[in-house]
């Protein structure tokens, strides 16, 4: 059901774990709907120098977390903010249609972590552009 790229990121997740001294964290989803994703950011001079994740979810959720963290590492916050779930799914060479919502979680948790950093540093939280598919289970 998953392609080899997805399976590779699922089985060998990049950047999995915790950053003890993270300066931005974001958690989305809830146990009720099943998926929870937590992102830890280490930001220096507006650049993401390190990123880690924890995920409670399916193969697609884990693979999306892994891919998304790879894609934002070394990027500026603005660049990371622009990473869409579609880009993550594309980088994974496609997800099954009923699993696209799992990649939304990656996008949303990164947004949450970025805004956490911004608010902690006295900056205004960025607004979601909207138009995302409702995440539903």
């Amino acid at each position: 059901m998953y392609n080899e790229k997805v399976m590779d990121h699922f089985e060998h997740p990049r950047n999995q774990g915790v950053i003890e001294d993270a300066n931005g964290t974001g958690e989305v989803g809830n146990a009720q709907c099943g998926d929870i994703m937590k992102i830890y950011l280490k930001v220096e001079d507006d650049v993401i120098t390190d990123v880690r994740f924890q995920t409670f979810g399916c193969g697609a959720a884990v693979a999306s977390s892994s891919m998304a963290t790879e894609m934002i590492k070394g990027k500026t916050l603005a660049e990371a903010w622009d990473l869409s779930n579609k880009a993550v799914a594309e980088a994974l060479e496609g997800l099954p249609p009923q699993k696209l919502h799992c990649s939304v979680l990656a996008e949303e948790s990164i947004h949450a972590a970025i805004n956490d950093y911004r608010v902690k540093h006295g900056l205004e939280a960025w607004e979601e552009k909207g138009g995302h598919a409702e995440h539903q289970h």
């Binding site: 958690e27 099943g34 929870i36 924890q54 995920t55 979810g57 399916c58 193969g59």
Partner: protein, 385 residues
């Protein structure tokens, strides 16, 4: 270890089927000699299936599987008895072949009671009795649950049904070949079977229809199966199903003993993993079924990692279902949505060995730990150092 989903056709069964595909190709309901062998083979299979459940051969109707048998029993009785009443009693833990059929019948104006179950997935025969109204035309309760293995009190429910003169159907798809069945003693009026659950061919099934039970056909057409189930008979499939069931029943006692011991070894091994809980009834369960939940992790990921280790399994997690709905069976047993996510079903086969069980226990323990390390929910003391 997913033998509740499907089993391979026994080699001797497949071999017995081939001549009926390519050689004896007569149509058993027509006249000529070519058909005679086919007809005799179908009759012999009918005797085998009947014997396996204590029925008479003429009470067995061959179908295309458990799903058709379930659909036929419910819709057949519902439409035939519409003038008598419109109420059906079933449980909250039936297979979708029952529950989705009931939902459709509700759209056609029937009223359905879905009885709750206790934490072990067991329905109370007294609750069945209490649900009966003058409008009740059918009670349908599965013999053994496909997810958690719980064996229902079928004989007791049969007694209740008979006492009130209500027809009683049971979906015995998971039970047949694993536990003893006697339609007479259990007062069963209709019973569904599926061939591929006991090493018979896929796409074969049967419905037992007791004496005097009226039901509309689900398959209208030719006069096959004494005018009750139309369609050219799947002769090789019927031959294979009959043979597989009679072999399964002959070997049942011996297999059940050995498999039960392995099941208990497997369960004990898995329950040794911290924060792991058994689903289904501790004693009254199928000899081959183990179902557990692991806190803090999600089932689809468990399956994927086990799969990489060559282990097939099943889960009630919403993430792994096409509809993204968590198992209605585990929810009916009172498990919260997020706990259902972490469920794992393993079902043993006759050929499973102790070594297999030990391998699986070790593999699952590793996978659970790996996923717990990844999960934001896992408490610190359960994480790897």
């Amino acid at each position: 270890m997913d033998h509740a989903a499907t089993t391979a056709t026994r080699v001797e069964v497949a071999e017995a089927m081939v001549p009926y595909m390519t050689g004896h190709f007569g149509n058993p309901s027509s006249l000529y000699d070519l058909a005679k062998d086919s007809r005799e083979a179908v009759d012999a299979a009918r005797v085998q299936v009947a014997a396996a459940i204590g029925a008479a051969p003429k009470e067995i109707y061959f179908t295309s599987g458990g799903t058709e048998s379930d659909n036929w029993a419910l819709k057949g009785v519902a439409f035939a008895k519409r003038s008598k009443g419109n109420h059906i009693i079933t449980t909250a833990v039936e297979h979708h072949a029952i529950s989705h059929t009931c939902a459709w019948l509700e759209k056609q104006g029937f009223s359905v009671t879905y009885l709750p179950v206790d934490r072990y997935g067991m329905v109370d025969p007294e609750a069945v009795e209490a649900a009966i109204t003058p409008e009740t035309i059918l009670i349908s309760v599965m013999m053994a649950n496909n997810e958690i293995g719980t064996i229902m009190p079928i004989a007791e429910i049969g007694t209740v049904a008979r006492k009130h003169g209500v027809l009683f159907h049971t979906d015995a798809v998971q039970a047949a070949g694993h536990i003893p069945i006697d339609v007479q003693e259990m007062n069963i009026d209709l019973l569904s079977l599926s061939g591929h659950k006991f090493h018979g061919p896929k796409g074969t099934g049967a419905l037992y229809v007791g004496p005097g039970v009226r039901l509309d056909p689900l398959m209208h057409g030719g006069a096959q199966e004494r005018g009750r189930r139309a369609g050219t008979e799947n002769v090789p499939g019927i031959v294979g199903m009959g043979m597989a069931l009679s072999l399964a029943v002959a070997e049942m006692v011996e297999n059940a003993e050995r498999v039960t011991a392995l099941r208990d070894r497997l369960a004990a091994g898995l329950l040794a993993i911290p924060e792991t809980y058994l689903n289904g009834h501790p004693q009254k369960r199928l000899p081959n079924n183990v179902n557990v939940v692991f806190a803090y992790i999600e089932g689809e990921s468990i399956l994927l990692l086990l799969n990489r280790k060559g282990i097939a399994a099943s889960t009630g997690s919403a993430c792994s279902s096409a509809s993204l709905e968590a198992s209605h069976v585990l929810m009916a047993c009172g498990l919260p949505h997020d706990v259902v996510h972490g469920s794992l079903r393993l079902t043993l086969g006759e050929e499973t060995t102790e070594a297999d069980v030990d391998y699986v226990v070790a593999a699952v323990a590793g996978v659970v730990q790996r996923l717990r390390d990844m999960s934001p929910l896992t408490p610190t003391e359960l994480r790897s150092k």
